[in-house]
């Protein structure tokens, strides 16, 4: 039985990875999860310099989901390269580094620096809803998506994944723009911009006022967008958004995702990724599917 998937020349043992920002660089979860079993670890966003992030409260629970406005707190690329990459290199898994920036130059600085590091792929975060500059500002205009993709591709030595925002009218326009810019892979969805109001305190639940909605509440939106994008572009898609179980992951795969990320579920169950991998395997055995590729995009 084959569970290996190929993303732009990078072969993953299985299609299950962690969603950026929910898993750090894996160290905290390594007490619960065998990192060797993951298809890949997608790290928390890394910028050229340390970012302090937003004030607290940074998270709030919502029905079937949560909103967060961490604000991409990260130690910057120097510490990341010195500390996190060697940690991850101890494991037999692929390393995908999520890259964030305020300007095109910021992204390129990180991409260039990482080009000399043992990193398998880069995921360019042009879709974070919680930072004022950069992030989503690049992800909601097709011209900007194409331009930043093209720019990053000039400097990247590893395959480039463009992470798209669901906060757009037509996801296929953004998917095509990234493809036109030379993206090797797309990942979607980042979080949906949301808001929660604390009626007792009569103020916003998050200090940032708005935050990104994730968790099972967003899954139907995410599956729909992955399906639409998969029909619109030829490059592989990494699907995510509210995956809690193997069944959820299989929905994304059948809709056209070549790989999936487990995010918010890690907070609910630190072993969620392991259970999703096992569940996909069980499903393939039960339904006598000998190759995962027979499931990818099988629903049309």
């Amino acid at each position: 039985m084959n569970m290996k998937v190929n993303l732009a020349g990078v072969e993953l043992d299985n299609p299950v990875m962690t969603a950026s920002g929910t898993f750090g660089s894996g160290e905290e979860y390594s007490e619960f999860v065998d990192l060797n079993r993951l298809g890949a670890v997608v790290t928390k966003g890394v910028a050229n310099i340390p970012w302090a992030g937003n004030p607290t409260p940074r998270i709030a629970e919502t029905y079937g989901g949560m909103i967060n406005a961490i604000g991409l707190q990260n130690p910057g690329m120097d510490v990341f390269i010195e500390r996190d990459i060697p940690f991850l290199k101890q494991f037999d898994t692929k390393i995908i580094v999520n890259v964030c920036g305020k300007t095109a130059e910021d992204y390129i600085e990180v991409v260039e620096r990482l080009s000399h590091e043992p990193v398998d792929m880069l995921e360019i975060n042009i879709s974070c809803p919680n930072v004022k500059e950069g992030g989503i500002a690049f992800g909601q205009d097709p011209k900007a998506v194409e331009a930043i993709t093209r720019e990053v591709k000039k400097y990247a030595r590893q395959p480039v994944i463009m992470k798209l925002s669901p906060n757009v009218t037509d996801i296929t326009v953004m998917a095509k723009a990234a493809e036109a810019g030379g993206a090797d892979v797309l990942s979607m969805i980042n979080t949906l911009t949301g808001m929660k109001i604390d009626v007792n305190r009569r103020t916003f639940a998050l200090a940032n006022k708005t935050g990104g909605l994730s968790g099972p509440a967003v899954k139907p939106v995410a599956v729909r967008m992955v399906y639409q994008a998969a029909c619109a572009v030829k490059i592989p898609i990494i699907g995510m958004g509210g995956i809690m179980t193997a069944e959820d992951a299989l929905e994304f795969i059948l809709a056209g995702a070549a790989a999936v990320c487990v995010g918010t579920a890690n907070f609910v169950n630190p072993c969620a990724t392991m259970e999703v991998i096992q569940g996909i395997e069980d499903y393939m055995i039960k339904h006598q599917v000998d190759d995962i590729y027979k499931l990818i995009g099988a629903v049309r």
Partner: protein, 258 residues
Amino acid sequence: MGKIKIEAEVVSQTRLADGVFSMWIEAKGITDQAEPGQFISMYTKDSSKLLPRPISICETNRDKGFLRIVYRIAGGGTEEFSQYKTGSRISVMGPLGNGFPLEAGSPGKRALLIGGGIGIPPMLELSKHLTCTRQIVLGYRDELFLNEEFLPYGDTFLATESGTAGTKGNVMDVIREHGLQSDVIFACGPTPMLKSIQAYALEHHIECYLSLEEKMACGIGACLACVCKSSERDGHSMVHNKRVCKDGPVFKAEEVEF
């Protein structure tokens, strides 16, 4: 062994005051490792509620493998916990965070233990584990809970906002009224209380440890939701944001910027 996630069984549950409950659970692997000031993550059965509730450890009984939590109903999740009966199962992870440094209360020292509201429960386990002279100050809005259980461990002073018991006012009013002297302070409670204790400790050059609370998601240091401003650079992001769940919840007073 480190932190673990297990299915625990509810041993007993009682109501201590309006909206305040005491629950003993059988959680051997966690109990064996738990230190005063650490907490556990408790998961609801209602799957519309995703995130674990971080609840401080109030007491442990290592012989039996039992662990006690005392919590206040703050929303739907803790409301669900309050319905659990003997024999109910609950998913818990722990022990999490760093507890109070017991060595700071070495014999010969005078320790002041201060708890405010739902910050009182972790002070009970601490008061049991310290061997030095202990003075205990407990602050309440109105209705008392747990106060009698502190009596074996030290002189216990009460404050109520309503004035129904002890000093009318807050824990700082108790300290002033009784002229309580100390070499080390351990405190847990609402942020305004911790802020005034911090100011008092710094002014009087008293060694002081504060246990903080913040909204959490992962509970193990990965998501960076529960940070507090810290005077020194944090070890994770180097940006003066320590993680309450992993670097805390107990911090040295001078480490925290409120």
